[in-house]
Amino acid sequence: MTKAAGEPARSATSRLRLPGVMLYPMLDPTHQPAGRKPRVALFVTCIVDVMYPDVGMAAVSLLGEHGADVVFPEGQTCCGQPAFNSGRRPDARKIAVGFLDVFGPLVESGEVDAIVAPSGSCVAMVRHSYEILLAEARPKVRERAHRLAECTYELTEYLVDVLGVDSTDGRSDQRITYHACCHLLRDLGVDRQPRLLLEGLRDEEVIDLEGADECCGFGGMFALWNADISTEMGRRKARHLEASGADVVAVADVGCMTHMNGILTRDGHRCRAVHVAELLAKSDDSPS
């Protein structure tokens, strides 16, 4: 039987999808107080911390290059998403409160203007799921969660919407395409921003990726509970990447990146997934 025919082709300049955005609070991007440099607290996220520290350093570098001071509160651990998505709300609640305890005072005191994370799914957790998770918590906790939800941003979102960046000093001679991670695209409505920054990386355009907004199959714990389905979804993504001819696919979420590279490597593909931060940060070597 013929291979997956009839799949709709999508252009790289994909439509910005407004997700259930009507249900979710829109952020006011003009949060910085006048008169001083914007200061952000970096929420590096657990996977980046342990597995991809260079992504964290690239994020710091980008923020610094474009006019923001970065503080790194050491008490941070995780946003609680794996626990929440697994249905373990008591655990997720504890972790979320931990996040609020670490970042809350910094925001409330005005010491930082925003929290920035190089991960769409973690930001979506804070912005949308904390409200659900903490619906029964004490008013002070809920207020703090609401306050933080209003000023937590994904990296490219913060760079473009708040710092007004439209291109970085990063350069690449590789053929680049972009995979739109689900939470970033649909929960946060962020798509134009990473694409805009990626366009600046080289003279050639970012390559079209067929099914760019199709889920790669990671889905967090789904990748373990339903590893077989997850893998098939990832292989579909790998086929599209192969067909695109790209050397590198930029992604904004390291979970997706780990899953995609896991399959690309095991199945012998040439293309590799790289985090947008690493591509965009000024660098002497091109990422492999």
Binding site: M1, K3, A4, A5, E7, P8, R17, L18, P19, G20, L23, V44, C46, D49, V50, Y52, P53, G56, M57, E74, T77, C78, G80, P82, A83, F84, N85, S86, R88, D91, A92, K94, I95, G98, C182, R186, D187, C215, G217, G219, G220, F222, A223, L224, W225, N226, A227, D228, I229, S230, T231, E232, M233, G234, R236, H259, G262, I263, T265, R266
Partner: protein, 468 residues
């Protein structure tokens, strides 16, 4: 290897993924349906239609008892007999009783998921009544003795070759792969059944409370035949199908048409408001409407009324990256598959334990939520179900252990640092020079079966930051 819908979850998934023919058919069909849908909703102010459709459906569910009483009154005024069935058993008994009272020997049916839900055909056959499906897709799977695999396109998992073989074998059709020839064969056979059947059985897309009207969406015309030619017409309507006004029904018809098949409207929208009146040349002499609960009240009581908003358009299936890989039968012995099925099937089941895997069979990508014409937040409902299943202790030990292992370290900075050091040490022990791990111990081996895993970095971000 076909999927055995009665087999345990893991077996069904394995069977589904191994059946490359079905996967190919499903994949191609979903791509086309999703594309057609996109074009149809892209041509209008879809966000406004979704808000309107949501208001129509949510308004109806909020007023459900009042609207049910109203539709009972208006249907009765129009000359129909209204019955109430708490569960599948009661509904089937009522249909059989109606059939016996009228000496029914043969029945024709239009496509209805609710009749699959209650296994009506089996009950009728047990009572000696011959039932034939008249929707082409349903007719094909009836011949093949299989359950439907998609809400709207029940035979999407079959290729033309499969259908042709079936028709040659069972209907004596000449060999042909031409869809027109196959359709014509079915038309001839089923035309005879329409004209001679004693009873017509249909589902109900919408039941209009204000006017006592049962609405049916079809493209083939079998809906009109089933509701016009036999002398008795029986409608099985889930109680959630009620809407307040004809305006709501007409709106939801358009929303369903665009989202299900990419048409502006379906070819036929039959609005039946009772049996034939005096002097009418055709139409049933008797019309019965069975209002069916079968777990719907429980869904409402459980706080998942959002799931009752569903208008059965199938859009969530068409855009679901998981459904596209596994097809409908993998969801088990239920007519409701895909994202909405993963919610309704456990909620309506007597024993949620048997269906507990379904809410976890999702990567939570959110495509379904974006597509739903009545704005059901499907991922949210899946997450709620997951937390209930965990709270009831329904998850396996292995699953619990894995998640606990990955989440307990996050509870505080000290545990986190300790867990980090363990991971780094582990990585150094297992890792090759390549920097990748090709093996992880169970249960993490689920990852490395098909993917490499990167080694934890020599220094964490924290350590690099401190070194700066």
């Amino acid at each position: 290897m076909k999927v055995d819908v009665e087999a345990p979850y893991r077996t069904r998934i394995r069977q589904a993924l191994e059946d490359t023919d079905v996967r190919s058919a499903v994949n191609r069909a979903m791509g086309q349906l999703a594309e057609r849908r996109e074009r149809a909703v892209g041509a209008i102010d879809n966000e406004r239609m979704r808000v309107d459709a949501r208001a129509a459906r949510e308004g109806a569910i909020r007023q459900l008892p009042n609207l049910l009483e109203e539709v009972e009154r208006t249907l009765t005024e129009n000359g129909s007999v209204v019955h109430w069935a708490r569960d599948a058993g009661e509904a089937n008994r009522i249909v059989v009783e109606i059939a016996r009272a009228r000496g029914v020997q043969s029945a024709v049916k239009s496509k209805s998921m609710v009749t699959e839900e209650i296994h009506l055909n089996k009950a009728l056959e047990a009572a000696g009544i011959d039932v034939v499906e008249t929707d082409l897709g349903e007719y094909i799977i009836q011949l093949a003795d299989e359950p439907p695999s998609h809400l709207v396109a029940p035979v999407i998992h079959k290729r033309a070759e499969d259908i042709s073989e079936l028709f040659q074998e069972r209907l004596g059709m000449e060999p042909s792969l031409d869809a027109a020839v196959m359709c014509d064969t079915a038309r001839q056979v089923l035309r005879q059944r329409f004209l001679t059947a004693d009873m017509g059985i249909s589902g109900c897309n919408f039941a209009i409370a204000e006017t006592g009207t049962v609405c049916l969406i079809t493209n083939e015309g079998n809906g009109r035949m089933v509701t016009s030619l036999p002398p008795v017409h029986v409608v099985i309507a889930g109680i959630e199908k009620v809407v307040a006004t004809p305006e709501d029904a007409l709106l939801l018809w358009q929303a369903a048409s665009r989202n299900a098949t990419g048409q502006d409207v379906s070819v036929y929208f039959s609005m039946s408001s009772g049996p034939r009146r005096a002097g009418h040349p055709d139409g049933p002499e008797e019309m019965h409407v069975i209002l069916l609960d079968n777990g719907r009240t429980r869904v409402l009581e459980s706080g998942y009324a959002d799931a009752l908003l569903c208008i059965r358009c199938g859009a969530c299936l068409d855009v679901c990256p998981v459904y596209r890989e596994i097809g409908g039968h993998a969801y088990g012995a239920t007519p409701y598959s895909g994202p909405i099925g993963s919610i309704l099937t456990p909620l309506m089941a007597d024993d949620m334990g048997a269906t507990k895997d379904l809410p976890f069979a999702s990567s939570l990508c959110g495509s379904c939520r974006d597509a739903c014409p009545v704005r059901i937040d499907l991922p949210r409902l899946l997450l709620e179900l997951r937390s209930e299943i965990v709270a009831e202790g329904q998850t396996s030990m292995a699953e619990s252990a894995t998640v606990k292992g990955l989440t307990l370290p996050m509870l505080g900075p000290r545990r986190y640092r300790w867990a980090t050091r363990v991971a780094q040490r582990f990585g150094r022990l297992l890792g090759a020079a390549s920097g990748y791990l090709s093996w992880l111990p169970p249960p993490l081996s689920a990852w490395t079966r098909s993917r490499v895993f990167p080694r934890p970095a020599a220094k964490t971000f924290r350590e690099l930051w401190r070194d700066k």
